[in-house]
């Protein structure tokens, strides 16, 4: 199998300063925050961003987010940021979103052009007969900024699909973290039925909304924009982050449960290098393996309707009890409980 050997890492400088970072900077400036204090410690200068020449690494963007959170000091910062994020002003990829003919096309565009549209948070789309499931993954090791990014990302999708479809879509959001003190922000920006302490950072919507035609879309303009955006991705040389590439590799080979050595070989690097790269992204190999197995297990339960034994067998566990133990370690809950949690959604 051939692997894409190019990807971006936490220190790759490729996010144009006038794309997503500018959205956050403008929000902060509109709240009378000093641009010098906002960019302190990030190695960035406002003049350079205004000139359109600056490229940020994910790490620098995290620094900017951290500064903004501290200076804005308000519970709604992430949600306001999210409302301004999509479709955005990120060249052809944004045009492609603007001219999406329906939600399905918009979601596909978001997934395919993730490096341009949402470089720090990777969206993934799964469909079953009733629902579209859209979940979000940490692509660069966001650490403390993860919750901010997650709130912003989900808000961006809810706000964009409302604006472009011309109606409020019945998105349901669930988060893996506990209910925060400022839960009313979730109610107002994401809906009153937002749930917490769930196994995944996930959104879902009934399937019929996927194909509903959106007004104001131009099929031709949309197609050309998608081609142009693909050209931009080709020019960048990568479409996803290193962590995402590893995720995809582990997902493809989940039944064989590859070792660190095997994975390193597939990525043409030494095990030490792979370890170091993961460390740079605030994660480890076992953590990644567990994450993929958890996601696959949940997928099999929810979408395929597998039983405990079938899932255990699929993931090559010899012993169902052993599987239950592992599952509890991944999710903090037993398979039966998780399934209940899902159906009560």
């Amino acid at each position: 199998m051939t692997l894409k050997t190019t990807w971006y890492e936490a220190d790759s400088r490729f996010i144009p300063g006038h794309y997503q970072p500018a959205t956050l900077i403008d929000l902060a400036l509109s709240r009378d925050i000093d641009s010098h204090r906002l960019l302190r410690g990030t190695g960035l200068f406002h003049e350079d961003i205004l000139a359109g020449q600056t490229r940020l690494s994910p790490q620098q963007f995290f620094g900017l987010i951290s500064n903004s959170r501290r200076l804005l000091d308000a519970d709604d910062s992430s949600f306001l940021f999210g409302q301004r994020l999509l479709p955005g002003h990120y060249g052809p990829a944004s045009h492609a979103l603007q001219h999406a003919q329906n939600l399905h096309q918009a979601l596909d565009t978001l997934v395919q052009q993730q490096a341009l549209l949402s470089p720090l948070v990777t969206p993934r789309l799964v469909l079953d007969d009733k629902h579209a499931w859209f979940y979000w993954l940490d692509s660069c090791g966001a650490g403390e900024q993860w919750r901010f990014l997650l709130e912003a990302s989900m808000t961006s999708l809810v706000a964009m699909s409302r604006a472009l479809s011309g109606q409020r879509l019945p998105w349901e959001c669930s988060f893996s973290h506990a209910e925060p003190r400022y839960v009313e922000q979730y109610w107002v920006h994401l809906g009153e039925h937002t749930q917490f302490k769930r196994p995944l950072d996930l959104m879902r919507i009934p399937r019929e909304y996927l194909a509903l035609a959106w007004p104001g879309a131009s099929a031709t303009a949309g197609q050309v924009a998608r081609q142009e955006a693909q050209g931009q991705i080709d020019q960048l040389g990568f479409a996803s982050s290193f962590v995402d590439c590893l995720y995809r590799y582990l997902q493809t080979h989940v039944r064989q449960a590859p070792s660190l050595e095997q994975a390193a070989q597939a990525f043409a690097m030494s095990p030490a290098t792979l370890k170091r790269k993961l460390q740079k992204h605030d994660t480890g190999f076992q953590q990644q393996v567990d994450r993929v197995r958890k996601h696959v297990a949940l997928y099999l339960y929810q979408i395929k309707g597998f039983s405990n034994e079938e899932v255990a067998e699929y993931l090559s566990f010899n012993d169902p009890a052993n599987f239950r133990r592992s599952f509890k370690r991944w999710t903090g809950s037993t398979p039966n409980l998780i399934r209940q949690l899902f159906t009560s959604n």
Binding site: D75, D76, Q167, Y182, E184, Q185, V188, E192
Partner: protein, 304 residues
């Protein structure tokens, strides 16, 4: 920072001059003590007090608009600083016993400063009462500036929860009903999209003033999140709360907000929901209120 201190440049200049003059006078008449004679405890105590008085002066001048009350406070603190300053000088400079004016310099400005400061604080108190009267319907008994909303001149969700806890307790004790009212602007995202987020912010600020005008004295208005406001209605049953909700809805519809850029009229409409508190926790009550609001907005789903 310096623009804030500008109206006070004469006062500060004079204080600097006086402090310098005191220093020169001491140097001219006395002799320097050697380091071995320094009493560190006194230096830290008296010098530190002088320094703190200067910090207080800076904070007062920086945080208050110029005016009569500020002048009293500044003069009082200046006098206190000057006294402590002279006091700490004699830790370093020994004056001959024949000189007595240093006692006057040291002890004279202190009582004068104290009196001026007291007058200042008294007037500050009067001023605060006046401001509190203006804060009616936005603040009740308890102030915590960290809970202020960053955009509108209202309390945020945390302030609301705090007040709600207290009000629930009070209504239980007095056997009086307590109602909550939520108001949410219909299609607010369209305003942000059409006129920009800055205009959306301006609409929220205008609305907060409008809603305040339409409330009773005892009501408390807070901004929950985004374009959602919540009013705490003490001693109010559900039917009366519904009436108030209707009035607020009509007020929002009647507001002819003009955009800042082109003076275009923005048409506004709001959805409201009302709940009366039963025996429940503040969080549960707020949740119930928001679910009621979601139900109220449902028929509007096409436009909201």
């Amino acid at each position: 920072m310096f623009s804030v201190l500008k109206p006070h440049r004469w006062k500060l200049g004079l204080l600097l001059l006086a402090a310098n003059a005191g220093l020169l006078l001491h140097l001219a008449c006395g002799e320097l003590k050697s380091v071995s004679e320094w009493v560190w405890l006194d230096i830290v105590g008296e010098g530190g007090s002088a320094l703190l008085a200067l910090v207080w002066l800076g904070l007062v001048l920086k945080s208050r608009p110029a005016g009569r009350v500020t002048n009293y406070l500044a003069l009082g603190l200046s006098g206190i600083f000057f006294s402590w300053w002279i006091d700490s000088l004699d830790e370093f400079i020994r004056l001959p016993d024949s000189i007595t004016w240093d006692h006057w310099l040291e002890s004279g400005p202190m009582p004068v400063g104290m009196i001026l400061l007291t007058i200042g604080i008294y007037h500050w108190h009067r001023e605060q009462l006046a401001i509190s009267a203006q804060m009616e319907k936005r603040e009740k008994l308890f102030r915590e500036h960290r809970l202020f909303d960053k955009l509108t001149p209202l309390g945020g969700a945390d302030y609301l929860k705090r007040q709600l806890t207290a009000s629930l307790e009070e209504s239980r004790q007095q056997q009086q009903p307590l109602s909550l009212l939520a108001l949410d602007i219909d299609n607010f995202t369209a305003i942000n999209q059409t006129f920009g987020h800055a205009e959306g912010d301006a609409v929220l600020q205008a609305l907060s003033h409008l809603l305040l005008l339409n409330l009773r004295r005892q009501d408390l208005l807070c901004r929950l999140a985004g374009d959602r406001f919540v009013v705490l209605l003490p001693n109010t049953g559900e039917s009366q709360a519904r009436l108030l909700a209707l009035e607020l809805q009509q007020a929002v519809q009647g507001l002819a907000h003009k955009t800042r850029q082109h003076g275009e009229r923005v048409h506004l409409a709001a959805s409201t929901a009302v709940v009366m508190a039963v025996d429940e926790a503040p969080e549960a009550l707020l949740k119930r209120l928001n679910l009621a609001l979601a139900r109220a907005k449902q028929p509007l789903a096409k436009t909201a």
